[in-house]
Every structure is written in structure tokens, then in C-alpha cells.
Symmetry: C2
Subunit: 253 residues, 2 copies
């Protein structure tokens, strides 16, 4: 089996850039990228090609574009015969002309910060065994945490990330806005949140649940609901999440 020696990256957003800068130092690997538009002073400029077709000599093309553009980009690769892998958690495996795969790093990226992939979990899938093996061994050159995962399970993992990360972030955003409006510093909450959220990740979050809903402390719940009566966004979330916590602990386990 031929080892992957050349990689093309389509997309120079946050993910594309992080991929590029992590792949570039790998020995025996050439890396090129295609961006819709790129400035001459961009650090990726020297390694960028003008047309996607110029990547067709590569052993692997990674599609690092937004989810809704993946299929469209894939169609441009009809004449390409190497492996094509997209990097999306929510998008199923696509055939992409016979050698399709998935190369999903479970992390948020930004354009300005280049992160090492070493500790980032990478989830791999291929539409045939050879592609899977190729992607798997290639991924191991980047990360210490590589796992093969089906599209179905990857989609569930992505859903879990949304529930735990995106929704918690929203609750923190609403808390920051509420305290700012009330003239109270958010700063004082940081030690509690660092400790509490850190514990939740490494312990059983169900068991360490605290707060008035967990204790069924109706007096505090009522006082909070009364404080929130003008808060059209926080009020329904407070009601629903408190209700969910209360009933969760009534269930038999």
C-alpha cells in the first residue's frame, strides 16, 4: 500500500490553516492548499495553488470548507483519483468518486491561533478498508488520539459537543450579560465555574449536580423566577432547565 506523501487542503479558514501548519513540518510530506482568495503576504501563499486541479497529483485531498459547501467542492473533484476526506462532524461519509473518507478533528479552531493536533482527538472513516487504513495511519502522524468512527456515531458525538459546549457557552453568555446589566462583576464567578465545570468533565456530572433544583428548594426557585420575570430570554430557560433537573433525579437509575 502506498503511503500518503502529498496532501492538498481545500479551504484556508480556521481549520484549513491549522491543518496546514500542523502538516507542513511532517517529514516526507508535501502540503499544498487552495483558497478562494489569498493575499501575497499570507503565510500560506507560497504553498497555495491557483486552481483546485493543481492538487490532483496529491495522494490525499482534505476538504476544510464549511459544511454546506462540502458537496459542491466534492463535485469539482470528479477527475481526481486519490483519497478525498472532509473534516466535518455533522456531515456523513461521501463517496467522492470511490475513495471517500472523513478526517474529523474534535476541537474548535480560530484563524489566529495555530494549535498542535497532538492532543486533539481525530475521528477517521473510509468508504473502503484501504482508505480507512491509509487515513488512520496518516492521522497517527498528527495526533496521539486517533479513532475509527462510523458516520452515525460521529454525528451523535457532534450532537453531544453541541449540547455540552455550545449550550453551556450560551448560558455563560447570558449570565455575563445579566450581571453586566445589574452592575455586578462576572469575575467573582470564575473560581466557582472553573472548579465546577472542571469537576463535571472528570467526574460523573449527574452525581455532583448541585443547586436549588437539585435540592428541590422551592423557596429559592420561586425567588429566582420572580427576579427573572422581566428577563424574557433567561426566564423560560431557567424554568425548563430547573424542571429538567428536578425530574431527572426522580427517575430510577
Amino acid at each position: 500500500m502506498h503511503m500518503i506523501q502529498s496532501v492538498g487542503i481545500i479551504g484556508c479558514g480556521a481549520l484549513g490553516r491549522n491543518l496546514f501548519h500542523n502538516l507542513k513540518p511532517l517529514e516526507g510530506l508535501t502540503v499544498e492548499c487552495f483558497c478562494r482568495s489569498i493575499e501575497k503576504d499570507d503565510s500560506l501563499y507560497q504553498s497555495s495553488v491557483r486552481k483546485i486541479e493543481e492538487l490532483f497529483h496529491c495522494d490525499l485531498i482534505l476538504i476544510a470548507v464549511s459544511d454546506q459547501d462540502i458537496i459542491e467542492v466534492g463535485q469539482i473533484l470528479n477527475a481526481y483519483s486519490g483519497i478525498v476526506a472532509h473534516c466535518s462532524g455533522a456531515t456523513p461519509l461521501h463517496n467522492f468518486n470511490g475513495k471517500g473518507g472523513v478526517f474529523y478533528p474534535l476541537q474548535s479552531f480560530s484563524r489566529s491561533v495555530i494549535r498542535s493536533f497532538k492532543e486533539i482527538p481525530l475521528f477517521i472513516e473510509g468508504d473502503n478498508e484501504e482508505t480507512t487504513i491509509q487515513l488512520y495511519s496518516f492521522a497517527q502522524r498528527l495526533s496521539n488520539q486517533v479513532e475509527q468512527l462510523s458516520s452515525e456515531k460521529r454525528q451523535k458525538l457532534h450532537l453531544a459537543a453541541v449540547v455540552s459546549q455550545n449550550f453551556s457557552n450560551h448560558l455563560i453568555a447570558l449570565t455575563q450579560a445579566y450581571l453586566e446589566k445589574e452592575g455586578i462583576s462576572f469575575q467573582a464567578l470564575i473560581p466557582l465555574l472553573e472548579e465546577g465545570l472542571g469537576n463535571a468533565l472528570y467526574q460523573n456530572a449527574r452525581e455532583i449536580q448541585s443547586g436549588p433544583a437539585r435540592r428541590k428548594d422551592t423557596k429559592t426557585l420561586d425567588a429566582h423566577l420572580s427576579l427573572l420575570k422581566e428577563e424574557k430570554r433567561l426566564l423560560p430557560l431557567y424554568e425548563q432547565l430547573s424542571e429538567s433537573i428536578k425530574t431527572y433525579y426522580e427517575e430510577d437509575f
Copy 2:
């Protein structure tokens, strides 16, 4: 003004124990506690009294019992003439016979782990200026972060803690349960959550919000709702939180 030289703690739960072990080493301070029941081999036994009345010689009594028992305990202190402070975030300041106060550490405690109060924010309130000053300077012996805060603001701060900490913990608990049921390891999410939740605390969480609701990625949202159609607990939370995120970014700021 007389400096506080003796403290009595009522309650030997998680908070009472943490208070006791932080106060005990302070120079020039005697600390006693009252517990409803205490074993001879308990580390607090040597410093415990049999009746609450035996604490009446103290300059300060800290009530470290659960919120719903605070008033009842306070009534036993009718003949006591020192300062009485409760330690609850949700309970308003009470008069407690003339020298009432609040001594609220913003942190979760457990019986088994004794934490240093040095980095724990302590919020102080007194029903007269002298009591406030006494509590404030006493609190400064324990913590580097002491602040005077009104009952009204303390209650809002406590509400903010519930929204950001208790609710996020619940979302993480539901995520852990969901992944376990689906046979997927929660472990892989830890780097994402550590990074994401850490950023939320030190940055503007509204600005760093990501995820399908933020992007109005209807395709992914629909796919997730379809995955959750049998999940009677996660489904309504997913719907409401996604809706809240979507509309939050439509508002003018």
C-alpha cells in the same frame, strides 16, 4: 472597636467543616462548633460544644446550615449579643437580634475536601455599619477577595451561579448519559470542553459562540432534532436552547 477573637460555627456539613479548618490556624482566634450529632473520632470533636448556648461567649457566630434551617437556628440565638452571620447566597440579610450579617463564600464545598479560602470570593453584609466593618476585616483574614454586597445583588449573583454552573453541569450530565447509552466515550469531548468553557470564562462568551444554531445551519439542526426524537429530556432542551441562540444574535446590541 473590638476585634473578633472568638468564632462559633453552627453546622458541620461541607461548609461548616471548610470554615472550621480555615479558621482554626488563624492566630489569636478561638474556634468552636456546634453539630447536631458528632462522633468522637471526628476531627471537629475536640472543638465542638454540646449546646448552642455554649457559643454565646463568642464575638461572632456563623450559621452554616442549609438555607431552609437558617431562620429556625437564628431564633435559638435570641439571648446572644454578638454578631450572627449566615453564609447563604440566596437568603436575605436577617436582623438576628440587632447584629445580623452575611458571610457568603461563592464556591461549592464538599465534606471530604478542605479548600483554602484564600482565592474564594467572600461577600459581606451587615445590618449596621459597625457589623459590616467587623465582618469585612474578619473576612480579609481568610480571603484575598472580600467584597461588600447588598442582599439584592447577592441574590442576583447566586442566580447567575445557578444559570452558569448548575445548568451547564446538567447539560454535561445529560451528554455523558447520552454518549454512554450510544456506546461512545465522553473522554474525546474533554479537550474541546476544557478549551471552550475556559475561553467562555475569560472572554466574551457571546462573541465566541459557535455551533449550528449560531451559524443558523438548519440542516445540522434538523439532523440533530431527528436524532433526538426519542430523547424526551434532551429534545426540548435542544429545541429551546437552539432557538434562544438563534434569536439572541438577531437582537441589536
